[in-house]
């Protein structure tokens, strides 16, 4: 089961309302390398993991990704909060507004809705952990491109925190892969 904590993992800071950034940032909410994809990928892969370390790390990183999803939602919410319809139109968010007003929805930067086709659970722990490592690198790169797109130091502070988390997750998945690999090799010998 899961229990909610009424706080964010890290302060979600926004220097000024910026609809253009909201449009870009929403891809980390519902895009291919976003936090929803990450959370759902890890949490569904954990059932077939062969070692206790792997079951633990997928559960815990999957859970942390939910906390990141909440940070992204908060950033987008704050960036759009006080926007007028005219500003929304000018930022190219008219189509988004027609479907969702200013509510949060799982789409990428171009409005394409989230799909489970973004993720996989192969049943082969080595294949799954390689996917997870690649996913972390892609998320890290996405945060880097978002930082490049933004000139808001407050927003960038939060995005840099999230970028660093992907690096740590990549590291932990790499260690997990090695543990799983050793476990499999060991089983073959006996």
């Amino acid at each position: 089961m899961w229990v909610y904590e009424k706080k964010l993992q890290y302060p979600a800071k926004v220097g000024r309302a910026n609809l253009q950034m909201a449009k870009y940032l929403i891809t980390q909410y519902g895009g291919p390398d976003g936090e929803l994809a990450a959370a759902l990928r890890y949490l569904t892969q954990r059932y077939n993991m062969p070692t206790p370390q792997a079951k633990g790390i997928l559960t815990d990183i999957g859970t942390e990704e939910m906390a990141h999803l909440e940070i992204i939602a908060t950033l987008v919410f704050k960036l759009m909060e006080r926007a007028t319809v005219d500003e929304i139109k000018r930022a190219g968010l008219g189509g988004y507004y027609a479907d969702h007003d200013k509510s949060l929805f799982y789409v990428n930067g171009d409005g394409v809705p989230w799909t489970a086709a973004y993720i996989q659970a192969k049943g082969d722990p080595v294949a799954d952990l390689h996917e997870d490592m690649a996913a972390e690198e892609k998320a890290r790169a996405t945060y880097q491109w978002l930082i490049d797109l933004s000139d808001d130091p407050d927003l960038n502070d939060t995005l840099k925190f999230l970028r660093e988390r992907e690096i740590v997750h990549f590291q932990r998945f790499g260690e997990t892969l090695q543990i799983v690999q050793e476990y499999i090799d060991c089983k073959k010998v006996y």
Binding site: E5, K6, K7, Q9, D60, E64, D154, E175
Partner: protein, 84 residues
């Protein structure tokens, strides 16, 4: 949210983050005794800080006591706080 509460909330967030970082590390290094000691000491500080925060400002998670009326629904929610 006033300055003082925000300050305490950020402290709590930082402590809990430290605990989580050690937690993930321990998942793949379960026999690292030094990391485990660090983890246990952070968790001890975190328990005290969380208790103190909740006594003043109400529950921030499930299974915690509440003053009257039911404090859980008190605003601001996490996305409504100005963190700057």
């Amino acid at each position: 949210m006033n300055r003082e509460q925000l300050c305490q909330l950020k402290e709590l967030m930082a402590l809990e983050f430290t605990a989580l970082e050690l937690h993930l590390y321990l998942d793949t290094h379960p026999t690292d005794q030094r990391a485990l000691m660090d983890y246990n000491s952070v968790v001890q500080q975190l328990t005290i800080a969380r208790q103190r925060y909740q006594e003043r400002y109400g529950p921030i998670t499930y299974g915690e006591p509440s003053a009257y009326p039911w404090q859980w629904i008190n605003e601001p929610w996490p996305w409504e706080i100005c963190y700057e």
